[in-house]
Amino acid sequence: MIVVPLVAAALVVLARRVLPLARVLAVAGAVATLVLAIFLPGTRPLDLTWLPGIGVSFSLDGNGAGSVLTFAAALMMIPAVLVATTRVASGAAGFAALLLVALGGLNGIFLAKDLVLFYVFWEATLIPGLLLLGIWGGERRREATVKYLVYAVTGSFFMLISILAVKALSGAASFHVIDLMLAAPELPVATQTWLFVGLAIGMAVKLPIWPLHSWLVDLNEQNHPSGAADVLGSLYKVGAFGFFAWGLPLLPAGALRVAPILLALSAVTALYGAFGAIGSNHLKRFLAYGSLSHMGIIGVGVFGMHLAGMSGAMYFLAAQMVSTGGLFLIVGMLYHRRRSLYLADYGGLAKAAPALAALTLFLIFTFIGVPGLSNFPGEFMSLLGAFQTSPWPAAIATLTVIAAGVYGVNLYQRLFQGRSEAVVKDLDALEMYVLLPVIVGVLLFGLMPAPHLQRIESQSQLAELQLERAAAAPGGITLSDVGGAR
């Protein structure tokens, strides 16, 4: 899973002088990763020694929520590298290679079962994104890069301290998830709280939640207009997964203390993102805010700490990779036609480009969570779960569903309806191929949630169990207390 995209990336770099070959190699690498991702569940976990001196192992496990996320990530990487190798003017092979490297890193994040290994991938994946932004970005790319770097690194370095301290303080035998899950919850509540805060700083930046979100909007705005780099952006929102897979189960007592604050922030993020989307006139800023709103709902689902909510949030995370990534690619196609990212320059495209209009509408519907399409089950479950424990933040977050309807329809109207004499090409064959995996993903996640949800559920139950145990401990706070206090 990790090696295949990296090897593909190396081959792409070697074939950079022959672009068609590089394109084939890049797509083949992404497809191969996808095939591996499909057959991943049920395989035996990998467990190699890596740095035995301090108890770090190279442990990966293809079962659980991570496998769903790797599937979505690999699926979206296919159109992304295709676009990268056709629509990027200079250094396209390097662009695609960086995307593939990032895919390898993402797979590592999702599958790692060793906390230090998780961190290794978490941090390493930052670099391809930075280079994509810095080399191929827009006019203000340097500012955006520095902002991104400082936010991400500050967050993750605090995370590193917590990671190293978890083992040292709890006396766990190694950094493997099983050892840590046994030892870490035994720590006193105050210690857990501090460690959790350290982890939370790093993960909240990459969730992202307000007020640590501002790098995201700049990143998307300044990224290459083809949208291929933004696909990576939508895949690299790994914060919620970090909380789900590591933060909550390892430090449940700390989580119970801090989560209400994060829950409230998530609700604010959801609403803030929705209003940001309504108010923006720039296509990519629009999508960035819209996706920020989704992230808020995911946060609400995770920090509601209810079984259904956590599962739903992870499912939503995978689903939004497809829908948000797809819309960024559509924006890239629009830019290819009109050389502008401002909404004001568009309008009335539906007549000249009916297929483009129809598919965009389809993806906008997905984006705003229409039932039957990919975002709905996850969004619904996130909110439903949160309602069980903490109705007020959930209610606030639910408002965004209404707001989403407003901004979604508004977007479609301003792009495609109205009067326009402009001659615009409809979708060409390449773009059809680009959108095909996106559509498949949307329908798959929308209509057949069960198999994926099952795999997520098994891991949510573990997190739930850890939280219940912490809550039941003498002096602990109970889940219903957390909800009741709100």
């Binding site: 740095l51 301090i54 290794v120 390493a124 810095g134 301290a165």
Partner: protein
């Protein structure tokens, strides 16, 4: 002090040092009668590799715990592994010098012999089991480097570097020797183990503590720990780049090897405030090194300050010698040798023959002009900044883990906070290479030998980064330290 009735000499323990000494002598003759400096460089390489083979043979033979002259010259795991890293650093420095000497008009025959002698001094320091051997090693290491830093004759900056280094270096050595004398006065022995034993058994006097403090200060000077770091940026900026490649790696290892042993054996037997003083020095080094590096426009000067900052991270490990700190420090030194030598090797290809033109603007657009060089430099910068999966990250994790285990959480937090600063200045180089266009076309210098050095450093940075386990296991093997424990 009691001499053993018969002086025990383990020739295998001494073999690496003797190989270096012989090579230095042979190289001098080759250089005197050779047409250019290449022959001497080749001889130096052969000698260093021979010494490396001796070291490796000893390390792998399983008898890695021999010592010579009582416990005064040790062949334990830290000594042997650090010797290997010193030799690696020397190889890198020789390769970087290969073409640069001619290019910079610095081909004097004494160059390679001096470099080998200095490496010999560092090896002796790494193997020293008593204060006298330590002082001998320190002087053998330092004296040639004073000359080497002023190697660029008729260059004000280089001469200033040599002079400054000599004056302050002599001062540092004097403090160290005075400290050693006081320790001897208090403990009646120079051998680390005997000193610790004597002091623990109730002979802890003001004399001993004062002596320990002076030894710490003297070595702190060589290791460039704040507040004794002032010389480092100026010397590193003024000295020729190949010499700096040598100094930042080899001298640093020598100084830290000695500090490691003292911090393990001798310092704990002294007043606890001495360790607190060391902690404060480390904290100060982290802050001063990183923030000063952030202010620099010249890449060479930035790297100079960054090497001060790395002394701070190494210092963290000194405080945790009971919690895996020795292996962590040795690993970090290995990592640092690879990535730092690599960075300076790249720099030597980019700056002018007289070492000027190392400012950030020179790196603008490098990704377009020389894509491979830019990619490699990016890896070195990210590794120095501690980004996984490169070797610098593994080093940082080991050091931080050790220092957290030892209970210095505040220092770990400080180290992390300053690492954020560090990443900003390292990434700035990457940003210049990739995100900017160059305003002019600087002269491009190419050198096969330097490329070999870069390839070596790159291999270490990548391989040890992805597979850190085996080397760390090797470093952690065996009894912790011989030194009479």
């Amino acid at each position: 002090m009691t001499f053993p009735g018969q002086i025990d000499i383990h020739w295998s323990v001494l073999a690496p040092a003797i190989a270096l000494l012989v090579t230095a002598a042979v190289t001098l003759f080759i250089a005197l009668f050779g047409r250019d400096s290449r022959g001497a460089a080749g001889a130096a390489l052969i000698g260093v590799i021979t010494a490396g083979v001796f070291t490796l043979a000893q390390l792998l033979s399983g008898e890695a715990n021999a010592a010579s002259f009582g416990l005064r010259y040790l062949g334990d795991v830290p000594a042997l592994t650090l010797t290997l890293v010193i030799l690696l650093g020397t190889v890198a420095a020789v390769l970087v010098s290969w073409d640069q000497l001619q290019r910079g008009g610095m081909e004097h025959p004494e160059y390679y012999p001096l470099m080998l002698l200095s490496a010999l001094g560092a090896v002796v320091m790494a193997s020293a089991g008593d204060l006298i051997t330590l002082i001998l090693g320190l002087e053998i290491m330092s004296l040639p480097v004073y000359a080497l830093s002023a190697w660029r004759t008729r260059d004000r900056q280089s001469e200033e570097a040599g002079m400054k280094y000599f004056l302050l270096g002599a001062f540092g050595s004097a403090i160290l020797i005075y400290g050693a004398a006081l320790v001897y006065g208090a403990a009646g022995s120079f051998v680390y183990g005997d000193v610790a034993a004597a002091l623990s058994s109730g002979n802890l006097t003001l004399l001993a503590t004062l002596g320990g403090a002076l030894v710490l200060a003297g070595l702190g000077f060589k290791a460039a720990l704040a507040p004794f770091h002032q010389w480092a940026p100026d010397v590193y900026t003024g000295a020729p780049t190949p010499v700096v490649t040598f100094m930042t790696v080899v001298i640093k290892i020598g100084a830290f090897a000695a500090l490691l042993r003292l911090a393990t054996v001798v310092f704990p037997a002294l007043q606890p405030w001495l360790l607190t003083a060391l902690a404060v020095m480390v904290a100060l080094t982290l802050v001063v090194g990183n923030f000063s590096a952030l202010m620099q426009r010249g890449v060479k000067r930035m790297l100079a300050y960054s090497s001060v900052a790395h002394a701070g991270y190494l210092g963290l490990a000194l405080l945790a010698t009971d919690h895996g700190g020795v292996a962590a420090a040795a690993f970090y030194l290995t990592a640092y040798a690879f990535m730092n030598a690599g960075a300076f090797a790249v720099l030597s290809l980019i700056s002018d023959a007289n070492d000027h033109g190392d400012d950030l603007e020179r790196f603008a657009g490098l990704a377009k002009r020389r894509p491979w060089l830019a990619a490699v430099m990016t890896l070195f910068m990210l590794s120095l900044g501690g980004i996984p999966p490169l070797v610098g990250f593994a080093g940082k994790v080991l050091v931080f883990q050790a220092v957290i285990d030892a209970g210095y959480v505040w220092l770990a937090v400080l180290g992390i906070a300053t690492s954020i600063v560090a990443l900003v200045y390292y990434f700035r180089v990457v940003a210049y290479m990739y995100f900017r266009e160059s305003a002019y076309e600087p002269p491009a210098f190419r050198s096969g030998a330097t490329q070999v050095a870069i390839a070596l450093a790159l291999a270490g940075t990548l391989l040890l980064g992805v597979f850190p386990g085996w080397w760390h296991t090797l470093l952690s093997a065996g009894p912790r330290l011989l030194a009479g424990l």
